[in-house]
C-alpha cells in the first residue's frame, strides 16, 4: 500500500532500516585475513561435532555384490602415496603401545589368526571419486581385545612406514566393519595398496584409511590427529 512520505522522515526511516541489516555485516569476519582462519576453523570443528553426533555405531555401511565390485586394476592408488616406503615384509611387526595390557611387537600371523572378515564396500576419496572394492582382514575390535586395550580409551593412533599417520575415534575403531586389513580382492595386499597392513574403514573418508601401518597406539590424548587433518582437513570425517 502506497503511503505518502515526507522526504526527511523517509531518509531517517531508510537509515534506521538499513542499520537493522548490520548483523549481515558479521559475515565480514570471513573477509578479514587475521580472523578468517579462526572462523573457518570454528566452522570445520562444528561440522566435525555434528558428524560425530550423527555417527551410529550400529549402523552398517552399504555392502555390495561381487558383480558391483570394480576390477582390481580400476581401484585407484592415490598419487600422494609413496608407493614403496621400503617395508621389509619378512621382518615386519606391528608395534603396539599405549593404554593396553599387552603392548609389544605383533606379527602379521597373529592378526591373521583372528576371525577374518571380507567385505565389498565403497571407498570414498575426499577428492570426489569413489570405488567399490573388496577388502579382507581382522576386525579392529577383535585386535583391541587381543591386546587388552583400555575400554575407556578415546582413540587409536597409527604411524606408517612412510611419513603418514592417522588417528581414529574409539567408536569408529570398534565398529564391526572397521578392519585391520591385510587383503584386497582375496589376495595379500600389494605393495602399492599398503602391504602388509592398512586400515579399511567404510564409515570414514579414504584418507583416514592409512597404509603401511607400523605402529599402533591406544590413547586418550592425540596431539597429531592425522597427515591431512593437520593441514586443515576435517578430523572426524565420518561418512
Amino acid at each position: 500500500m502506497s503511503r505518502r512520505v515526507d522526504p526527511a522522515g523517509f531518509r531517517r526511516t531508510s537509515r534506521r532500516e538499513l542499520l537493522k541489516l548490520l548483523p549481515v555485516a558479521a559475515l565480514g569476519a570471513f573477509a578479514i585475513p587475521s580472523l578468517q582462519e579462526k572462523v573457518l576453523g570454528w566452522g570445520l570443528a562444528f561440522s566435525d561435532r555434528v558428524s560425530g553426533g550423527v555417527f551410529r555405531p550400529e549402523h552398517l555401511a552399504p555392502v555390495f555384490a561381487d558383480s558391483e565390485v570394480a576390477p582390481f586394476e580400476k581401484f585407484p592408488i592415490n598419487g600422494y602415496d609413496v608407493d614403496d616406503p621400503g617395508v621389509d615384509l619378512d621382518n615386519w611387526t606391528l608395534t603396539v603401545s599405549g593404554d593396553v595390557k599387552k603392548p609389544g611387537e605383533y606379527k602379521l600371523s597373529q592378526i591373521q589368526a583372528l576371525p577374518r572378515m571380507r567385505q565389498n564396500t565403497r571407498h570414498v576419496c575426499v577428492e570426489g571419486w569413489n570405488v567399490i572394492g573388496r577388502f579382507g582382514g581382522a576386525r579392529l575390535s577383535d585386535f583391541l581385545d587381543l591386546i587388552g586395550a583400555d575400554p575407556t580409551a578415546r582413540f587409536v593412533a597409527v604411524n606408517c612406514a612412510d611419513d603418514y599417520y592417522e588417528s581414529l575415534d574409539m567408536a569408529t575403531a570398534r565398529h564391526p566393519q572397521t578392519l585391520l586389513c591385510y587383503e584386497m580382492y582375496d589376495r595379500p595386499l600389494s605393495r602399492e595398496h599398503g602391504a602388509p597392513l592398512r586400515l579399511n574403514i567404510p564409515t570414514k573418508v579414504g584418507y583416514k584409511q592409512a597404509k603401511y601401518i607400523t605402529d599402533f597406539k591406544v590413547t586418550s590424548l592425540v596431539e597429531k590427529v592425522g597427515y591431512w587433518e593437520d593441514q586443515g582437513y576435517s578430523s572426524f570425517y565420518g561418512l
Binding site: R4, P7, F10, E17, L21, G43, V54, V131, P202, G238
Partner: protein, 234 residues
Amino acid sequence: MSASAVEIVRDLGKEEAAPMATAVYEHPLAVRVCHWLNAVSLFVMAGSGLQIFRAFPSFGAKIPQKNLMDWPKSLAIGGWLGGALQWHLTFMWIYIATGLIYLGYQILSGNYRQVLFVKRDLPGVWPMVRHYFFFGPKPPQAEAYNPLQKHAYTTVIGLGVLSVVTGLAIWKPVQLSWLTWLMGGYGMARLWHFVVMWAMIGFVFGHLVMVALHGWNNFVSMLTGWKKETIKAK
C-alpha cells in the same frame, strides 16, 4: 490581485510543483536479512563447491579419468581442496539456517501467499515471458508479484532445498545411506548436486538482470524495506 493574495498563490504554486513522494513497504526485515545472508552464502557455497569440483572434475570413473571441464581456479573460492572444504563446511550451516529462518518466517507470517506459485498462476506465466523477452504487451499487474516472479521465487526455494538434500547425500553416504540410494548412489548424488548448483546460478543471473532493469528504488527496497515512488504533481 492584492500583494498578499499573489504571495499566497505563489506559495501554493511552489508546493504543488514540488513532487510528492510516496513509498511502499515491500520487504520485512526477516526477508531482507535472510536475502543478504543467503546471497553471500550462496556465492561462497558455489565458489567453494567449484574448487572442490576441481579436485575431481569428472562424473565418471577415476580410472581412466575423463574430466568434464577445467574450471579456472581464479573463479573458485578456497585455493585448494582443503581450503575449499573449510569454506563449504562452514558456510553450509549459515546457508541452511538462513533458509530455515526464511521459510519459517514466510509460513508463520502468512507472507508466503504473495510469492508462492500456485496453479492459478500458470496461465499468467507465458504473457510475462512474452513481455520480458519478446516485446509483448505488459500484462496488468494485479498482485505484488507477477506469475513469472512467483514461478522463479518458488522454484529457487525448491532448488535450495535440493542443494542441501543432495549435499547431505554426498556428505553422509553411510549415515544417510537411504538418501544416497534415493539419488541413485554416491556418484549420481554428486552429479545432481552439481546440476542443481548450475540451475541456481541460472536463477541468480536472471534475478540480477531483473533487478538491474527495475531501477534503483526497487533495489533499495531490499535494503530498507521501502520502495520510494515519486509522483510529480500536475
